[in-house]
Amino acid sequence: MMQFMLLFSRQGKLRLQKWYVAHPDKLKKKITRELITTVLARKPKMCSFLEWKDVKVVYKRYASLYFCCAMEQEDNELLTLELIHRYVELLDKYFGSVCELDIIFNFEKAYFILDELVLGGELQETSKKNVLKAIAAQDLLQEEETPQGFFEDHGLG
C-alpha cells in the first residue's frame, strides 16, 4: 500500500501531496521537508529507491518534477515506478504534453486524476482509457452543474 505521494520541483517546492495514512499536519510537513532534501541530494547516477525510516521511497524525475511515492516493505518497487509512469502518462494525455505549470494551475484536476487511478493507497484501475473516460465524464458533470456565467456574475470569472 502506498502511504503517500509527493510531487515537488527541482527547487524543492511541493506541488502536490496525497496522504493515505493519517498524520498530524506538523508531522506531514516534517516528513515532506526531510524527504525532499534527501531525494534532491541524491545524484542522478543513483537508483530510484531509498530505504527511508520504515518505508521504501520510490522516486523518479520527469523534467523538473520529482514524483515520489512512499511504499510499504512488501510492495514491488519496480511496479511503483510503473505506477508513477502511468500517472505521468495520464497527466500528459489529459493536459496534452503536461508541464509543471499545468499542475500548479490545475492542481485539482491533477488530484482528480490521481483519485481515479489510486484509491486508499492501492491501484484501482489499470486501463488508461477508463481513467480518462471517468475524468471526462466528471468534467462534463461539473460544467453542467455550474450555471453558465456563475463565476462571472460573482466577479470570479
Partner: protein, 683 residues
C-alpha cells in the same frame, strides 16, 4: 463525525456514480475506525453493485476498512469471492488486493481462499497467453499491475502449502520463461515471480531458474534492477546459499558500483556468502572495497570482516595478516573492540607468530610514522605499539630472520630495524600533536616495555629521556604515567624488569604457571606482588574454579544424640582451600538462629600471619561475629571463629567470605561465595 457520516450515507446512496465514487474515495483515504464501523455495511452493498466503477472503489474501501478494523472482515467475505469472476481489470485488481489483505489478516481466511488458486492461475494464464489488448498493454506486457498483484497473492496462498504450491508451479515457470525482459515492466513481473518462487514450496529446478533470473538482473544496465536483484538475493541467500554462490563474482563486481545503495547491498550480500572455502578470495575483494569505500561503510564493513575472519580463518597466519590489513585500511573507523580482540589474538599466538606480528606491524608503524598519516590509523598504531612493546626483542633480534616475511604478492618489504631506529620512530609518534591520548598511552607503555627488551646502552638512555619528558606532560594521565615510569629508573629500578615482563596469553588462565625463573630475591618480591594483585581478577575469570572451592562437602555429621525429635544437626561445608589453607564452616541448626563455626587449618610449610576472616550475608539476615581465636596460623595449626546468623525469613543461607593473610610477608586475599548450606538450615 456523526454529521459527516450522514453526508456519507446520502452520498453513498446517490444516483450519480461519480458522487458515490467521490464518497468512496474520501472514505478510502480517511477510513477512521468510527467511520469504518458505521459505513461498512454500505460499502459491502456497493461491492455487489453491478456498476464496475463503483464496485472497484467499494472493494478498495473494504480493503482500507479491514486494515483499520480487522474485526469487520467477516461481513465482506461473501461479496469478495465473486469479484474474481469479473472481466473488468479494475474490479479484478481491487478484488485481488482485497483478498490479499484478508489472507494476511487471518490464517482461517487464508485457508478459506486456498480454493481460488485455480481461478488465479487461470486469470494469470489468460493474461500471458491473450494477444495484444491495447487497453491494458504496457510496452508489450499485458496488464503488469494485475499480474504482479496475482503473483503476490499466489505467494501468500502457496506459502507452506505443498498442494497449493504444486498447483502454481507450472504457471510460475511459464511467467518466468515467457516474460519479455528488455523493459522495466517485464522485469517487474519477473521480480515478483522470483519472490513467489522462493517463498512457496516450489520445485528445485524452478528455484534455480529464479536465482538465474536474479543473476541476469545483476548484469542489467538499469541500476534499479541491479538493486532489486541484490535485495532479493540477500533475502533468499539463507534459503539456497549454493545457488547464490554461483553469482559471487557478479556480486563482488557490484561492490564497485557507482550507486551507494547498490554497494551497500552488495557488501551485505558478500558477507552472507563468505564460507570456509571462499574466505581468501572474498576477503581480498572486501579488503580492496574497504580501502576505497566511504566513511559510512568502514565501521560496519571492518567489524563484519573481523567476525568473518575469526569464524573462517584457514590459518592463524592468514588471520593475523587479514586483521592487520583491516586495521590498516579501516583506519580510525574501526570499532574499539577490534583493537583489544586483535591484541588478544596476538597474545595467544605461538611465539613465532608473535615475532611475525611484531615485524609486520613494525613495517606499518614505520610507514605511517614516516608518511605522517598515523593520525588516520590510530587503532593500527595502538595494536602495533602493544605488540612491539611485548615482543620487541624478537623484532630486533637476528634470530627471527628465519621467519618468512614474504606476503601474498611475493614481496618481502621487511628490513630489520636497529633498536635506536625503533626508538626514534616512537619518539616521532609520541611527540606528534595529532595522536589521541589513548594512542600515546599505548606508545608510552610500549616504550617502557622496550627498555627491558632492548639491550644497547644508547637505546636505554634514549628511552629514559623520552619517558622523563612525559613527567611534565600537559595531560594528567600521561604525566602520571611518565612520572611513574621514571621512578622505575630511580629508586625502584630493581622492579623494572619484572614489572615490565611479557604479558601472559590473555585467554588462558596461566598466571599460576608463571615461570619464576629468577631466583633473585630482588625480583621475587615484585613478582608475588603482581600475583596477589591479579588474584581477585583471576577469581572473576575462573568462575568454575571458584565454584569448586565453595562446593559442597555435604557430610552431615551424625547427630550427637540420636533422638530424632531434636532438630539440632550439624553439617560441615568446605568454603575455601587454597595455598594450603583450608577454611571450613560448621553449621549448627537452632531455629531462627544458626551457629556457624569457622575453622581455618593450615597445611602450608611456613607460618601464616595476619589471618583475617570476614563474612557478609544478604540484607534479610543478621550476622554476629565473635572474635577469632587468633591471627597466626602455624603449620598444621588451627584458628576458629564463631558466627551467629539470624534469619527470620528462613530463606536458604548465602554467604560471602573473604580471607586475608600473609605468607612470608606476602599479603594474599581470597574471596568465595558459599551457597551450599542445607536449605533447611533455619527450621
Amino acid at each position: 463525525m456523526a454529521n459527516s457520516n450522514i453526508f456519507f450515507h446520502s452520498d453513498l446512496n446517490s444516483n450519480t456514480q461519480f458522487v458515490v465514487g467521490l464518497a468512496l474515495c474520501t472514505l478510502g483515504a480517511i477510513a477512521s475506525p468510527e467511520m469504518a464501523r458505521d459505513l461498512a455495511s454500505e460499502v459491502e452493498r456497493l461491492i455487489k453493485s453491478p456498476n464496475a466503477y463503483i464496485k472497484k472503489k467499494a472493494a478498495l474501501c473494504a480493503f482500507r476498512i479491514i486494515r483499520r478494523v480487522p474485526d469487520l472482515m467477516e461481513m465482506f467475505l461473501p461479496a469478495t469471492r465473486s469479484l474474481l469472476t469479473e472481466k473488468n481489470h479494475g474490479v479484478l485488481i481491487t478484488g485481488v488486493t482485497l483478498i490479499t489483505e484478508m489472507c494476511e489478516n487471518s490464517p482461517d481466511t487464508l485457508n478459506h481462499f486456498k480454493k481460488i488458486v485455480p481461478n488465479l492461475v487461470r486469470i494469470l494464464k489468460n493474461l500471458i497467453l491473450a494477444g495484444y489488448s491495447p487497453e491494458h498493454d504496457v510496452s508489450g506486457v499485458s496488464d503488469p499491475f494485475l499480474q504482479v498483484k496475482i503473483l503476490r497473492l499466489l505467494r501468500i496462498l502457496g506459502k507452506n502449502d505443498a498442494e497449493a504450491s504444486e498447483a502454481m508451479n507450472d504457471i510460475l515457470a511459464q511467467v518466468a520463461t515467457n516474460t519479455e525482459t528488455s523493459k522495466n515492466v517485464g522485469n517487474t513481473i519477473l521480480y515478483e515471480t522470483v519472490l513467489s518462487i522462493m517463498d512457496i514450496k516450489s520445485e528445485s529446478s524452478l528455484r534455480v531458474l529464479a536465482i538465474n533470473i536474479l543473476g541476469r538482473f545483476l548484469l542489467n544496465n538499469d541500476k534499479n534492477i541491479r538493486y532489486v536483484a541484490l535485495n532479493t538475493l540477500l533475502r533468499t541467500v539463507h534459503v539456497d546459499t549454493s545457488a547464490v554462490q554461483r553469482h559471487r563474482t557478479t556480486i563482488l563486481e557490484c561492490l564497485k558500483d557507482p550507486d551507494v545503495s547498490i554497494r551497500r547491498r552488495a557488501m551485505e550480500l558478500s558477507f552472507a556468502l563468505i564460507n570456509g572455502q571462499n574466505i581468501r578470495a572474498m576477503m581480498k575483494e572486501l579488503l580492496s572495497f574497504l580501502e576505497r569505500s566511504d566513511a559510512e561503510f568502514k565501521a560496519h564493513c571492518s567489524s563484519a570482516m573481523v567476525l568473518a575472519a575469526e569464524r573462517y580463518a584457514p590459518s592463524s597466519k592468514w588471520h593475523l595478516d587479514t586483521l592487520f590489513q583491516v586495521l590498516l585500511k579501516a583506519g580510525n573507523y574501526l570499532r574499539d573492540d577490534t583493537v583489544s580482540n586483535t591484541i588478544q589474538i596476538v597474545s595467544a599466538a605461538p611465539g613465532e607468530r608473535q615475532a611475525y606480528a611484531s615485524m609486520r606491524l613494525w613495517t606499518s608503524l614505520e610507514r605511517s610514522a614516516l608518511s605522517a598519516d598515523a593520525t588516520e590509523k590510530q587503532p593500527l598504531i595502538q595494536v602495533a605499539a602493544w605488540t612491539i612493546g611485548e615482543y620487541g626483542d624478537m623484532l630486533v633480534s637476528e634470530a627471527s630472520n628465519a621467519i618468512s616475511m614474504v606476503d601474498d604478492d611475493g614481496v618481502d618489504d621487511f628490513t630489520r630495524p636497529t633498536e635506536e631506529y625503533v626508538i626514534d620512530i616512537y619518539q616521532k609518534l609520541l611527540w606528534s600533536t595529532q595522536l589521541s591520548i589513548t594512542t600515546k598511552e599505548y606508545l608510552l607503555l610500549s616504550l617502557a616495555k622496550l627498555s627491558t627488551r632492548f639491550t644497547t646502552r644508547g637505546g636505554q638512555d634514549k628511552i629514559r629521556v623520552i619517558i622523563d619528558t612525559f613527567g611534565s606532560h600537559i595531560h594528567i594521565e600521561l604525566q602520571q604515567r611518565g612520572v611513574e615510569l621514571s621512578q622505575l629508573y630511580k629508586q625502584y629500578a630493581h622492579l623494572r624488569p619484572a614489572l615490565l615482563e611479557r604479558m601472559p596469553p590473555m585467554e588462558a588462565s596461566t598466571a599460576t604457571e608463571r615461570e619464576r625463573d629468577d631466583s633473585d630475591t630482588e625480583t621475587e618480591q615484585p613478582l608475588t606482588n603482581i600475583q596477589t594483585e591479579q588474584n581477585p581478577l583471576l577469581d572473576l575469570i575462573n568462575g568454575s574454579e571458584l565454584l569448586a572451592n565453595g562446593d559442597v562437602e555435604h557430610t552431615p555429621i551424625a547427630p550427637t544424640n540420636n533422638n530424632s525429635n531434636t532438630n539440632v544437626t550439624e553439617c560441615v561445608v568446605r568454603a575455601l582451600e587454597r595455598n594450603g589453607v583450608l577454611v571450613e564452616l560448621c553449621a549448627v541448626r537452632g531455629g531462627d538462629t544458626a551457629t556457624l563455626t569457622m575453622r581455618a587449618r593450615s597445611h602450608a610449610a611456613s607460618t601464616i600471619s595476619d589471618f583475617l576472616f570476614q563474612a557478609a550475608v544478604p540484607r534479610t539476615f543478621r550476622l554476629d561475629m565473635m572474635s577469632p581465636s587468633g591471627t597466626v596460623l602455624t603449620p598444621q595449626g588451627e584458628i576458629t571463629q564463631v558466627l551467629k546468623i539470624t534469619n527470620p525469613s528462613k530463606t536458604p543461607l548465602r554467604l560471602r567470605i573473604r580471607v586475608s593473610y600473609s605468607i612470608d610477608g606476602n599479603p594474599i586475599l581470597e574471596q568465595a561465595e558459599v551457597n551450599s548450606f542445607p536449605p533447611d538450615l533455619f527450621n
